[in-house]
């Protein structure tokens, strides 16, 4: 209740006059999936004497729109949460200042997609097919290990995917099929999936909790597009506790798509030095080790250690499907519209 009275006080103050920002407040704009733990945030604040203010601004697309629209009068000093499907757009809009962080040295080159260092990689997650283990056991059905398998009549009516126009894992899976079958082949593949009774829903929640049989017991389909990290979370957030997940991820070559999220210093910041310190901090082991259990994404810094549950149950694809960030920016709309025409109409 204490927070309620603080809020009322803040509302009262805000109604009277906007308070001038104190010089030591660093504002970090994010999407609404951002989270961090109290001790980690405090560590940065103590280290620098600054105060961090986070500004969640809706889902990833909305937040990026906000940052782009406010380019002339930036709302924050740092923006976190643009992914590789939006990266080129953010760079074209020129909202970031370059920063060649010394921390980048430790980070594998395949994460570092922006040679101008305006957007720096922070975390990644693989969008992969997940399956309900008991279904495949009970029906003595081999688990598919190529995208082509999903069009096989043996898997008729088993798969649920998300709409790429409304869902980011949905878009990632569409990109995986484009990476694998090429621009000329992916639509034929989706026609075959449609023949094979693929179910499309609009968001991850509806697919995973509503239609997939492996998670909430409400669905009937044993194959779903989710994340490579979903199985360990079925253990970590199980209720009642379980020793191993009822689901598993398929990580065969060319079946997953890797989402990488970036951070950047917003043009026009008045706290450039502090913003650099925050970015270095985000790439440091302390923050990187904190991310998986807060945000369900994985560190790009190889020195960061993972919780044993992840070591045991997380599947990381060796060769996710590849699509260039520039190609995504250039063709995103056209690919999604062609897909909609073939799969939904």
């Amino acid at each position: 209740m204490k927070r309620t009275s603080t809020l009322l006080l803040a509302l009262g103050l805000a109604a009277c006059a906007p308070r001038p920002a104190e010089p030591t407040v660093l504002t970090v704009m994010t999407h609404d999936s951002f989270a961090a733990s109290e001790p980690v945030v405090q560590a940065f604040e103590q280290q620098t004497g600054a105060h961090l203010q986070f500004l969640p601004s809706g889902d990833a697309g909305t937040a990026l729109n906000r940052a782009i629209l406010a380019r002339e009068q930036p709302l924050a000093d740092v923006f976190y949460g643009v992914d590789n499907t939006f990266l080129s757009r953010a760079l074209d809009e020129d909202i970031f200042e370059a920063y060649n962080s010394p921390m980048l040295e430790a980070i594998p080159a395949f994460f570092d997609l922006d040679p101008t260092h305006r957007a720096l990689p922070v975390d990644y997650g693989d969008v992969c097919l997940n399956y309900d283990r008991s279904y495949f056991d009970a029906h003595a059905l081999p688990v598919p290990d190529r995208l082509e398998d999903l069009a096989d009549p043996a898997y008729h009516g088993l798969l649920v995917v998300e709409n790429p126009a409304t869902s980011s894992p949905g878009l990632a899976f569409l990109l995986a099929t484009i990476g694998h079958f090429g621009e000329d082949g992916y639509l034929d593949y989706w026609r075959a999936l449609r023949e094979n009774d693929v179910l499309v829903v609009n968001d991850w929640e509806a697919a995973y909790n509503g239609e997939f049989s492996g998670a909430s017991a409400l669905g009937t389909r044993p194959l779903v597009v989710s994340y490579g990290s979903s199985p360990p979370f079925e253990v970590i957030y199980a209720d009642p506790p379980v020793s191993e997940p009822g689901t598993d991820a398929i990580t065969a070559d060319d079946t997953c798509f890797r989402q990488i999220e970036f951070v950047g210093i917003l043009k026009g910041t008045a706290h450039r030095r502090l913003a650099q310190q925050w970015i270095d901090f985000m790439l440091s082991v302390a923050f990187q080790e904190d991310m998986p259990l807060q945000m369900f994404v994985f560190p790009v810094n190889p020195q960061a250690k993972l919780d044993p549950v992840f070591e045991a149950f997380m599947a990381v694809p060796a060769h996710p499907a590849q699509v260039e960030a520039q190609a995504i920016a250039a063709h995103r709309e056209q690919w999604i519209e062609a897909w909609t025409e073939v799969v939904l109409r």
């Binding site: 927070r3 309620t4 803040a10 709302l75 126009a165 968001d203 909790n209 669905g219």
Partner: protein
């Protein structure tokens, strides 16, 4: 000007007296607050985002218009948006009107509870309602499981999710409360003796209903219909989550273009089309509303309402009340039940999961094992939601009361005719458009509110304000002008007339308006998620955080939080009802 009871105009136009000029000026002054608010917090942000969006169009604004209208899918999009809204509104009236009759005409035990129950769906975020319908009617929902068990079926017999039926049912589920409350409240003031007189003179019950009662109810019915229609017309979450990818409305398309494709020019074009449709509709409605409203002999509830004494009305009432309660309670109950049930499913099979009762999800809500900075303890989230809701009530009443009063007193003023249709526009504006507009317009001087927590109740007030005006107008317009005139002749000042004649008569409508504003704020998600500060999470934002994560515990916590929201809403609505009963000065 004021009309006779039969709705005809006074035959002779009188000269405008000096007194009337002064009163016209006073009416104009009433508009200052509401218009200033709309100008700064609605039209200015809207104009900013629309012009910024069109400025980004490579083909120029006209090129974008040509592109949008040229799309093969556009007529279908527009047709479906209108069609589903029309069908949903019709069905909502079909269920809502009998219930409005029941709560309007009869005093019975459980009336307050029934009214509180109808308000609960209104505050439920669509993600939760989608989860509730999935738990009830999904492929492995309770109903399908029971049918499969009883009828020995291999596959679930009912396919409900991702159909047009799901969209319509969810819309009726959400909006029935608007009809029940607005029409029911108005009905409870109608003098039943008029219809009784018609029956004494030989009219059948239905004939009396059709020729006497329904015409008198028309203002309230029109207000309820237009609000329901606009909610359905701009429906987002229901279409997206329950309708699925095969269905799209203007609002869904605006969101997809903005967020999924970053195509702001097309989004702005669609937003303008949606606004134009809203404006056309509300212009038609406000013209109609001015024509059909007439002064009535308003009666206190103890005269207008009768107890359920005879067997036939008792039976009819029982049928209506239980049908409504079952329809609303089934999905909500499925949710609440799931929040205290731990399922140990035999995965992939179609048998019954074995349930066990648990309070683990509620207990876990208060814990923050990962020490997240954004953890929202239930007490905090509820406190923040209540604070925002209370502020929304205060703001929207402060703005809505003068607006409604000005509209009721001088409906034919130039200003009234001009502004009336504009008041509904915030309901036709997509949350993402408005959220981005706030970002652009309210983050720079002279209105630098960038990360201020006050943005959230301001955005809520924009949605609540039209509801407040529409709730207050029908009863205000039905006041007998003779009462005011008599008071004026006897020397009462305008303020005294307001206080002693108008206010007591519309006190109940004020509570109704406050209840609407309260529930709108409590359930709002779209704009809140863009504008809310992480330190001050609302309950819907907290629910969404849990629901967007994998794992049974997160899912259970989302449902537990939703159940808490239901209880808070029901409690608040019952408190509002209590407030009414304690009101002694009823006319």
């Amino acid at each position: 000007m004021d009309r006779g009871v039969d709705g005809s105009r006074p035959p002779v136009r009188r000269k405008v007296t000096r007194g009337e000029t002064r009163s016209s000026l006073a009416t104009g002054a009433l508009w200052i607050g509401p218009l200033a608010f709309l100008a700064v917090f609605f039209f200015y942000p809207l104009a900013s985002i629309l012009s910024a969006s069109f400025a980004r169009s490579p083909a120029g604004a006209w090129g974008t218009w040509a592109e949008v209208f040229g799309r093969a899918s556009f007529p279908r999009l527009l047709g479906f948006t209108f069609g589903q809204a029309l069908a949903s509104t019709g069905l909502t009236l079909l269920l809502g009107l009998p219930a409005a009759y029941l709560v309007g005409r009869y005093a019975f035990r459980g009336r307050s509870l029934l009214l509180a129950l109808t308000a609960i769906p209104f505050v439920m975020p669509t993600v939760v309602v989608a989860a509730a319908f999935t738990a009830l009617l999904g492929p492995r929902g309770w109903i399908n499981l029971v049918l499969m068990q009883v009828l020995h079926l291999e596959a679930p017999p009912i396919s409900f999710l991702h159909t047009l039926t799901a969209i319509l049912v969810a819309h009726v589920f959400y909006n029935t409360t608007i009809v029940v409350r607005l029409v029911g409240d108005f009905w409870s003031h109608l003098d039943p003796r008029q219809a009784q007189a018609a029956q004494v003179l030989g009219a059948g019950r239905l004939y009396a209903l059709r020729t006497v009662t329904l015409p008198l109810l028309l203002p309230a019915m029109a207000a309820a219909s237009v609000l329901v229609f606009l909610f359905d017309f701009t429906s987002f979450g229901v279409i997206l989550l329950l309708g699925g990818p095969r269905f799209s409305t203007l609002e869904v398309e605006i969101y997809t273009q903005t967020v999924g494709l970053l195509n702001l020019p097309v989004a702005a074009t669609l937003a303008l089309i949606q606004l134009a449709c809203t404006l056309a509709l509300s212009a038609a409605y406000t013209t109609l509303a001015r024509r059909v409203s007439r002064p009535l002999a308003v009666q206190p509830r103890r005269i207008a309402q009768q107890p359920l004494l005879r067997a036939r009305p008792r039976w009819a009432a029982a049928v209506v009340a239980s049908a409504l309660a079952a329809f609303l309670l089934a999905p909500l109950g499925a949710l609440a039940l799931r929040s205290v049930t731990r399922l140990d499913p035999e995965r992939g099979e179609t048998s019954f999961p074995t349930p066990a009762i648990t309070l683990a999800y509620y207990k876990a809500l208060g814990e923050n094992p990962r020490q997240s900075i954004f953890h929202a303890a239930p007490a905090t989230a509820i406190g923040v939601s209540l604070a925002y809701a209370s502020l929304t009530v205060v703001l929207s009443l402060a703005l809505g009361m003068p607006a409604a009063w000005a509209l009721a007193r001088r409906p034919d003023d130039f200003l009234s005719r001009l502004v009336d249709p504009l008041l509904l526009l915030p309901l036709g504006t997509s949350a993402v458009t408005l959220g981005l507009g706030f970002t652009l317009a309210l983050a720079v001087p002279p209105f630098d509110l960038r990360a201020s927590p006050v943005l959230v109740p301001l955005a809520h007030t924009l949605v609540a304000f039209p509801f407040v005006v529409r709730s207050l107008l029908p009863p205000l317009r039905s006041l007998q002008p003779r009462l005011r005139q008599a008071a004026s002749v006897l020397g009462a000042t305008p303020f005294r007339i307001l206080r002693t004649i108008d206010l007591p008569l519309v006190a109940r409508a004020l509570l109704l308006a406050a209840a609407f504003a309260f529930t709108i704020s409590l359930g709002e998600f779209g704009a809140t998620t863009i504008l809310a500060r992480p330190e001050y999470p609302t309950v819907p934002v907290a629910i969404y955080r849990y629901l967007s994560r994998p794992g049974a515990l997160n899912y259970g916590q989302a449902l537990a939080m939703s159940t808490l929201l239901m209880m808070v809403c029901a409690g608040a609505m019952l408190a509002f009802e209590k407030f009414r009963i304690g009101e002694q000065r009823e006319f």
